[in-house]
Amino acid sequence: MPSSTGLDLRRRALLLFSVTSVCLFGLLIRLGYIQFVLGAELSEKALDARMQEVPVEARRGVIYDRKGRELAISATVDSVFAIPAQIKPKDLDRVALALSEVLGIPKDRLLVNLTKPVSFVWIKRKVDEDTAKRIRDLDLPGIGLTPETRRFYPKGNLACHVLGIVGIDNQGLEGIELVYDKALRGNPGKIVVEFDATGRKIPAATHRYIAPEDGCNLMLTVDEVIQFMVERELDKLMSTYSAKGACAVVMDPKTGEILALAARPGYDPNEYAKFPDEYRRNPVINDAFSPGSTFKPITAAAVLEEGLVTKVSRFYCGGSVKVPGATISCWSSGHGSQTFVDAVKNSCNVAFVNMGLRLGPDLFYKYVKAFGLTQVTGIDLPGEAMGIMLEPGNIKPVDLAVMSFGQTLTVTPIQLLSAISAIANDGVLMKPHLVKEIRGLDGTLIKEVKPEAVRRVISQETAKDLALAMEEVVKAGTGKQAYVPGYRIAGKTGTAQKSVGGKVVRDKHISSFVGFGPVDDPKVAMLIMVDEPQGAYYGGQVAAPAFGSIMKDVLSYMEVPPSSEEGREGDRLRGVGVPGAGMLGSTGAPQTKGPEEKGPEDTVEVPSVLNLTVEEAKRVAETAGLGLDVGDQSSGERIDPKSVIMEQIPPPGALVSKGTVIIGFRTLAGSAEAVGKVSVPDIRGKTIRAVADILGEIGLRLDVKGSGVARRQNPSPGTLVPRGTVIEVIFEEPGAEKPKTETPARE
C-alpha cells in the first residue's frame, strides 16, 4: 500500500489535467491546421457544394457572306429549367400540371424530370416568347427561365449545305457550323447561385454571374447573291428534269475561294428535323461521282505538258478503237481526222484513249495525283470524301484507256472543280476554302484565310493552250449551250452512266458541266452536276445551259468586263447562237429555246427598281421588257407585294438582253450604296422576339442585352441610320425588381 494516497490522488489529478491540456492543445493544432492550411481549399469546396449553376449560353457568332450579309445569326430565346430541390412535394403536382398546360408536355414526363435527384434540369429548351411570358407569370417554385441563344438562318435554305446545322445546345453538327464550331461557339457563362441543402436561395448569398464569351463571327467566301443564282438554277434543273439531285460549286480559280456551293435536294436549317436526313448530305464534298468527259481536260493537260502532243497533233477517230482486251467506241460514229483542239471540242473518246495510252500508267497517275484527285482538297467542310481509282500497280491497257475519258474512276465535285480551276489559274492548283475571315465581336481580325497554292500542276503555257481548247468546246463543241454572250467561256461537258454495285446502269446518268470564264482572265470556275435527269441526259443538253445561265448572271453581278474583241469576233465568225432565254432567270426549260441572234434592238438598259414595292417594281420591269424575280418564282414562296426592293441584280444602268429577269432582293441588308437610310423604330416594351422581327423587317440588326422586354435602345427611336446598323437594345425582366420570396411551410 502506498504511504500517501492523498498525494497520489493529487498527483493523478495533476496528471489528468496534463493529459487534458495536451489533448486540448492537440485539438487546437488540428483546428489551426484545418482553418489555416486547409482553409482555402475547404472553403472553395464548400462553396462549390453549395453552388448551383444555371448555364448562360454564349451567343454563337454570326456567319456572314463575303459582303457582310448575314447567313446565320443567333437570337435570344428563353429556356425553361427546374431546380428539383426547390419544389416541395406538396407543390409538385400543381407545378407539373401548370407546366403541362403551358408547354404541352405530358404531366407524367414532367414529374419524372421534376423529381430527378439533380440540381438542375431542363424542362423545355428555346420556347417562344409567349410561352416564356406565361411561364414567367405563373411564377412556379423551382421553375426558372434562362436566356439561351437560338440559331436562325434568315435566308432559309440558302447555302444550307455550306452552313450546316446546330443542335439544341447550339453545337455545330454539320457544315461550317461544325468545322468552325470552336470559333463560333465561344465560351458559355453561368449564373451561380448559392443554395442551401434543400435548394432555397441563401439570403444575401453569392450570386456570381460569369458572363459568357460570345463566339467569333465568320465571313465566308460565299457570295449570297451568287449562291442565290446557283440555287435558283439548280431548282430549275430539278423541276425541269425531275432529277434525283443536283449540285454546283462556283469558285474563284485564282484564290480557291468558294463563291457558291449548293446542292439539291436542300433543306431549311431552321427546321432541319422536318427534312429527311439524307437531304443534308452534301454531294459536292461527301460523294464521289464518275466524272465522265469532264475528266478529259486532265488527260489532255498531261499529254500537252509532257510534250506528247501539241495543239496541232492529229488524231483519227473511226468510231472505235481497239485496245488489248477490248474495243472502245466513241460516242459518235466517227470524228475522222481531227486536231488535238478538235478532239477536246468533240470530246472524242477514241482520241483520248490514244492520249491515255501514249501517257502510260505512270505519267497518267502522276498527273491525276498532281491535280489533286487522289487526295482530299482540304476544304473546310466536314466529311470530305475521296474518289476511287484503280491501283496504279496492276492496271491493264484497257483500264487506262477507259480512265482517260473519265470512266471507272470517281472524284468528288470539289476535287474535279479544283483540278479544272488549276487550268484556269495558269496551271496552279489552289486549295478551295469557304471561310475568308474570323473576326472577334469587336471586329478585330482573328484569322484571315489567305489563298493557298497547293502546287503548280502544269505550265502556264499548257494551261493557256488547254483553256483555248476548252473554249472551243463552248464556242462550237458539245458545250455550246454554256455560251455566255460577250464573254469567252471555257468548259467541258460530261455525261456519265451511273454504275450501281460495279455494274453500269443503262438509263441512269450524271450530266455535268465544268468550266470557267472569262478565258483571258478567269474570274469564275464552276461545276454543275445533275444526278439522273429525266428526258435528256447529255451534259451539253442538261448541265451546259444552266452553267451558261449562272455564268452570265455571275459575271454580270461581279461586273466582269466583257471579253476582248477577239472573243466576240470569234462568235461572229462562227455565228454562234445565244441561248438568250436561257439566261438570267428565264422561266422556260433552257434546252427548248433555240439560239437566237443577238442584236442591238434586243439590248435594254436595266431600270432601277430600288426602293419600289414589289408591285411597282414588276410594272417597271415589264415596261422595260424585263422580268422580275423577287424569290417567288424560283422558290414558290409567297411574297408580300408591298415589300420593298432593297437590292437588284443586275444593277440599274446595266445593258442586258430583253427578257432578262431582274432579281430583286427585298430585305437584304446589303451594300450601303444599294440601300437607303431607315428610321429607327420605337421598340421599347416589346419582347426580344418581336423586336427581332421588327428590326429584321427593315434591315436593322439587333444586339440583345439582357432578357425580358425592351427598356432602352441605342440609337433612340426616329434616328436615321443606314440599313444594317446594329441597334443595341437593353432588355429587362418585367418585374425584375420584385424579389421572389418563399414562405416555408408551417409544420
Partner: protein, 392 residues
C-alpha cells in the same frame, strides 16, 4: 486563499477512505469563497453557446418551426433552469451526496430502464432516449453520467475499499459502468455510454487503481468496442467514414465533410457572427453536436480557440479543486465531474475536427439540449460547492 499546513489535510495513510468524513457530523470546515473564476468561464461558455445556438439554428428553426427563435428560447429557458439548479447545488454541501449516492444510482438506473420501456420512453430520430413530463423531456442518460460519478466517488472513497486489488477493487465499478453502458447502448446512445465508461476509468485511475489493471481492462475492451462498431451498420459506416470521409461524401462522410467545410470556410477570423453558410441545412445537428463547427465558421480560429481556452481554464480550475479538495470523496467527486465534462468536450471537438469518429456527444455548455445543459450546470454547481472547502 487560505493556506493550511500539509498536516491538516484530511488525507490519511492506508487508503483513500476518508476517516474524518466517514462520520455523520463532519466536516467542521468553514466554507471559503466560491471559485468564481470557474463560474465566469462557465458563464462565458454558456453565453457563447446560447448566441451560437441561435445563430446556428435560426434558419433551420424558421424552416421547421416558422420561428427563428425556437431553439434560442428553449436553450435560454434550459440555461436558466440549469443556472438555478447550479445555484442550488452550489449551496448544497457536497458531503450530503455520500448519503444520497446509493439512492441516486438506483433512481438513475431505474430511469435508464424506464426509458427503454414502450409507453414511457419517447422515440425521436429512431432512438428511444427521452422521458416526457408534459412539455419537459428528460434524457435519463444525462443524469446517469452524473449519478455514476457521485456513486463511484462515494464507493471508492468508502472506508477500506481495496482499490489496489482487481476483483474487489477495480472490477465492481467497471461492471457497474458496463451495466449502465449496456443500458444506454439500448437507446441507442453510444456517445453517452462511452462517456460513462470513460468517467468510470478516470475515477478508478484517480482513486489510485493500478495502472496495469486499467490498461489490461482497456486492452480487453478494445475488441469489444470494435465489435460494437462493426456489428451495427451505421456505426461501421461512421467509423469507415472517419477513416476516409471523401469516399462517400454524400453518404456516411457527409457530416465530417460538411463540418470540415464549415471550419475551413471560417479561416482565421471567421465569416462573422450569423454569416455561416454551412448552417443552411448543410450541416445537420448544427446547433447540437456540430455547434463547434459553426463557431469555427462564424468566429474563425479565434472564436474556436477561445472555446478551447475556456475549456482549458475549466480543466485547470476543475482539477485544481480536485487537488485541493478537503477529502477523498470530494477529491474524487470533483475529479470525476471535471473529467466527465472534459471527456465530452474533447470527444466533441475531436469529432468536429475529424480527429475522432462520430459518436454523438454534445459539447458541454454550448450544444443545444436541455438535459445535457441542466445536468452539466448541476455538475458545475457541485464543483463550485467543493471549491468552497478547498485547501489551496
Amino acid at each position: 486563499m487560505r493556506k493550511r499546513p500539509a498536516a491538516e489535510r484530511r488525507f490519511n495513510a492506508g487508503g483513500i477512505a476518508d476517516r474524518a468524513l466517514g462520520t455523520r457530523d463532519l466536516p467542521k470546515i468553514e466554507a471559503g469563497p466560491t471559485d468564481y473564476s470557474l463560474l465566469v468561464a462557465v458563464i462565458l461558455l454558456l453565453g457563447l453557446g446560447i448566441v451560437m445556438v441561435f445563430s446556428a439554428s435560426a434558419v433551420m428553426a424558421m424552416t421547421n418551426f416558422n420561428d427563428p427563435f425556437y431553439f434560442l428560447k428553449r436553450q435560454a429557458v434550459w440555461a436558466l433552469i440549469g443556472l438555478l439548479g447550479m445555484t442550488v447545488l452550489m449551496n448544497f454541501d457536497y458531503w450530503h451526496y455520500k448519503k444520497l449516492a446509493p439512492a441516486i444510482i438506483v433512481l438513475s438506473i431505474t430511469l435508464l430502464v424506464a426509458v427503454l420501456l414502450p409507453g414511457i420512453g419517447r422515440i425521436s430520430h429512431g432512438a428511444r432516449r427521452w422521458i416526457g413530463f408534459g412539455p419537459l423531456t428528460l434524457t435519463p442518460s444525462e443524469p446517469a453520467k452524473m449519478a455514476m460519478v457521485i456513486y463511484l466517488a462515494y464507493l471508492l472513497s468508502s472506508k477500506g475499499y481495496k482499490i489496489k486489488t482487481f476483483f474487489r477493487g477495480v472490477l465492481p465499478p467497471v461492471l457497474l459502468g458496463l451495466g449502465m453502458f449496456a443500458l444506454i447502448l439500448q437507446q441507442p446512445d453510444l456517445g453517452t455510454g462511452l462517456t460513462v465508461m470513460g468517467s468510470t476509468f478516470i475515477m478508478l485511475f484517480s482513486a489510485g487503481a493500478k495502472i496495469w489493471h486499467l490498461l489490461g481492462l482497456i486492452g480487453m475492451g478494445i475488441p469489444g468496442v470494435f465489435a460494437a462498431i462493426f456489428m451495427e451498420e451505421y456505426r461501421r459506416e461512421r467509423f469507415l467514414a472517419f477513416l476516409d470521409p471523401w469516399a462517400d461524401p454524400r453518404g456516411s462522410g457527409y457530416h465530417i465533410i460538411q463540418s470540415l467545410y464549415a471550419l475551413g470556410s471560417g479561416g482565421p477570423f471567421g465569416l462573422g457572427l450569423g454569416k455561416s453558410r454551412q448552417k443552411f441545412l448543410y450541416l445537420p445537428e448544427m446547433h447540437t453536436d456540430f455547434i463547434f463547427a459553426i463557431i469555427g465558421e462564424e468566429l474563425g480560429f479565434v472564436g474556436a480557440m477561445l472555446v478551447i481556452i475556456l475549456f482549458f481554464f475549466f480543466a485547470w480550475r476543475g482539477y485544481r479543486i480536485a487537488m485541493n479538495a478537503p477529502d477523498g470523496f470530494s477529491c474524487l467527486l470533483s475529479c470525476g465531474l471535471t473529467s466527465m465534462i472534459l471527456i465530452q468536450a474533447l470527444v466533441n471537438i475531436g469529432v468536429v475536427t475529424g480527429t475522432l469518429p462520430i459518436t454523438g456527444i454534445p459539447l458541454p455548455f454550448l450544444s443545444f439540449g436541455g438535459s445535457s445543459l441542466v445536468f452539466t450546470l448541476a455538475s458545475v454547481g457541485i464543483l463550485l460547492n467543493i471549491s468552497r472547502y478547498c485547501t489551496g
